[in-house]
Symmetry: D2
Subunit: 334 residues, 4 copies
């Protein structure tokens, strides 16, 4: 029997942190040893996330107060920028999975401050990840977009100069915070594009790994939107390619043996139910079709799971040698 | 003082029919003389739409039973295909505004069965509409897309071979009907593309008037989606153009004097709130920006108002010489 | 022809303030002369409420800066407590309609600081209101509860010691503010009772006017809930009475000639559609039935309209001698 | 190691059937051997519930075609009335857990057609259930209401003649079906009481077990409502009792050692988050307070889990001797 791997979750007061705690609570080989929350230090998880009221978990503490000798692996779901100030606190020999954007700008494999960082899009970089101990977990939009895009670019099946992506996310992508635009009264019964006047933080991440796959500079035309729902991302890609059937076949070949990535067959694309299909699972579901003179791919994930906590647990399973699907849900009901 | 114009609304049991009845109830120069509903004949409006319980309106009757001598104008909000079978019933001298798709395939101005039909995108074809008495009222998606697209094509500002549109609608676009996919349990908390495996009915309408404006064949790559909300459409257009500032200026010039079409200035595009901005109004609100190497336009309407009943009333006002904004709401609150 | 009544709206940045501005924009005898917003002074309405982008309204200013000579009537939609500090600023001869709770604790008719205040539940206190110039506009829950309750208590038809009310509101009742519990992520897909551990602010208001009608102390057992929607209140009253038919008849008799209060006949109670029936109207719709040994009344209003801005405009119409229904919507569609 | 228990799920095309299939797919000691669906026979689960696209499960078949020799236990999530016609088809020696209302009218323990039936409110009737092999699984509203009510009636802490319950459910309670009133367009942004003019099916079930606990006839005044959400029930009980603290203590004593029933301490009732707390878990969460002269209890469950499939799996675990919590989620996140 395997020893329990004792994990710390930094930033447990946010939604991704809570999802990590929820998933890892059901993990047969992991034990939650420490939870951090700067402003919430001293509180119980159930005081922040009432859905944890059944659980006996460690109280939240400041990251600086964690007894690192008791910890085998660190997940960080801290807000962008916060982990950087804690890098001296976390021992370098503890595997670290960072769900923020703080280390995604590094090269695919990069040394920084005594750690080797690896970008963690599991299905694409699995071999590199197996050897990694510091992981930059991908952003939610990039996960939904790069899973279809990278194989097509690598195989030269699409025009790299002409990639258009319209993405939609539920509001959990914004994180757990008090803000007027994300109040229910302002965000129910509306659908809105955003980042119209600024570049979205994920643009650079998408372009970087698209460029890496293409072997040359790629600049995706990317516009994000939010819809009146909590979870879920659908990215709609408009691509210029030889034939949409070839595109589908390429993706089917690549993802054929994957547990979490599903490419609908041509006869089933009418069944593509959007974010609903991936809700609360670690799945990414794609359908390929054509409209006008474009190949169109729609790609759905749950932003909190495959787009954050789920993929982090998948990477955790990978680097610790557990079955990659351990503790990761794959069935969605209403 | 103007005489009251007595109107008949065919298909009053649907959402567009109810919206027509609601708008026309507040119209100072119109009186609802007759309401039709085939299956619902004999019922009161409030038995179908409980929100009408305060109103004394004619009971629904079969269209064949309407006393046409009492009617000065006919609105038809019947389902696609139904009006065609009633064309012999409606006297040819009664102005007719058809909200269905039944007459949108005709040429911009066309004779058919003793009537001259005119496509009713008001701001674009106002001059032709003034003289018209039979109007093919535009579809909801086409309204949101053609209002920005036609001036740009007419002025040669965009590449007509490279138009990509990702549109999103609330579920009222599907109409008032019992169906599993549009039940709340199936359509809440999800965002889904549809018509992946078939051409959407509005594709031809969009292409036709885009082509008309361009003076040559245009085939838009168009994918519709539904989000978990009742009303509202946002269309996101990805265009190839010289400069997005030129695109914005063109649209601002064109729509500068319009009451219902608003192009946000460059400094205000961050305030684009999506469907919320146009909710329950006859407005179309647009913002222009750029992403990657594309000019991006987002265009929001309320599909039930500007995309259906509101534009129909606008056309009614136009042909009867009333102020074009009569009985049409222009302010949206939560 | 009547002169335009020039109105000031204090607290225009909130939802009730915006609804007042929306309703009064369509009022044929009113003109919005001034809008106040303390933190938002200098901004345009459309910068705060994007749905006003079509409107040319005065910019927001601090209440202290309003030129009161230009104002004939004042609406205050300020947060609770704020108006009190401005009472010296507003000339005593300007009629004042206060939508906050600041003056609801006063006696039904009361002198305070040079003004005579009247509680503004229009249908019940119309005669007193006609003579009033300072009005404490009722709270949203109290409006939905007192409209059915007061006639029954006045007529001795129910046991005053045994009144149980379970009420439900949309989240707009909380007001326009940034707060975690009212974010969409926290408040979608949930239904929650609140004020479990404290008395809700409206309890005293309900008890006070129930007691007034009964002629003795009444203490209602009242629990409020919020549901995942923007607008609407349903109050469910469980009462001990002789016969629910008598209760219905009493309410029908009382409200028979009212434009805004509707008591469903016995055969129509199955059509009670909840908040939907009153959505964006000034209506209050009730149905009476029995369950177990109790008479049950369900009462629906739009909290922002009949529960706030709409009833305020109704009172405005009353004191200025306009038709009471002027500028007040009465039809609800989806 | 335990042998796998091979289960059949009748009515797998509905939401409770799908939830059973989802829960049992993660059960370490169960294997889904057969799935039935009359109209859907021949289809794969993923053709009906797209969220199952990752799963290899038996295709749906008609119940008559199941090879019963391969089945150790039967779950029935058929619509009310359908199982009765299949009782001859299912061998009497196969344990049967019926989620419909078909057997809830029987006495607590009853013989019928060669089977002994037991009402399956697990925490209350655990001892009787251990010996049972035919279980009438409780309704969703009754589960949320009887868990607090039965101990209070058994211990004589409340007035049995004066029980008032206002319950609220998400729309999944209606089941998976095409119907206009449950379409998103009709049921979003509204809150509605229902069964105003008829008795709800669950009334008799509530009264029956309340009477059983009281030892005399009890008639609860019960009104159900639906809110704009998919899952979740909150029941609000207004009771006449000596002291609400005594009521809380009684419930805390009774449920102290239960995994799935949680009574909030007095200091935590302000944290009661409604249905959100129990979302997608098998939990029932209660808070006790007082309003007016009444003790008020709010009780939240997920109607699809504790109110249907989860409690059925809990009963399955009980009768097969598995840990009662096996395969039952207890943590809720957004």
């Amino acid at each position: 029997m395997k020893d329990l791997c004792r994990v710390a979750i930094l930033g447990a007061s946010g939604y991704a942190g809570a999802e990590l705690a929820m998933l890892l609570s059901t993990h047969p080989f992991a034990k939650i040893e420490a939870l951090s929350g700067h402003k919430e230090a001293g509180k119980e998880m159930a005081d922040i996330h009432p859905g944890f009221l059944t659980q006996s978990l460690p109280a939240l503490q400041r990251a600086e107060e964690i007894d690192w000798h008791q910890v085998n692996c660190v997940f960080s779901a801290l807000e962008h920028g916060v982990l950087l100030s804690l890098m001296d606190v976390i021992p370098n020999d503890k595997p670290l999975i960072d769900l923020s954007g703080d280390h995604r700008h590094l090269p695919l494999t990069a040394m920084k401050a005594g750690r080797t960082w690896q970008y963690g899009l599991t299905e694409i970089f699995r071999d590199q990840l197996r050897a990694a101990s510091s992981i930059a977990n991908p952003g939610c939009y990039p996960t939904s977009i790069l899973l279809p895009l990278i194989p097509l670019l690598s195989n030269g099946l699409i025009d790299a100069d002409d990639i258009i992506v319209s993405s939609v996310s539920g509001l959990s992508g914004v994180g757990r915070k008090a803000a007027l635009p994300t109040s229910l009264t302002e965000s129910a019964e509306t659908f809105r594009p955003y980042s119209l006047d600024v570049a979205h933080r994920h643009e650079a991440e998408i372009d970087k790994y698209a460029s890496h796959a293409h072997g040359g500079a790629v600049s995706v035309a990317f516009l994000p939107h939010v819809s009146s729902q909590v979870r879920g991302i659908v990215s709609t890609l408009f691509l210029r390619s030889a034939s949409h059937d070839k595109v589908r076949e390429c993706l089917q070949d690549i993802y054929n043996r994957e547990s979490f990535v599903h490419v609908l067959t041509a006869s089933k694309i009418g069944q593509f139910m959007g974010t609903r299909m991936a809700n609360r699972t670690n799945n990414c579901v794609m359908a390929v079709t054509e409209k006008g003179n474009r190949t169109v791919i729609v790609s759905a994930i749950d932003n909190v799971v495959k787009g954050a906590a789920g993929q982090a647990v998948q990477n955790f399973n990978l680097i610790f040698g557990f079955d990659e699907g351990t503790a990761l849900p794959v069935i969605a009901n209403i």
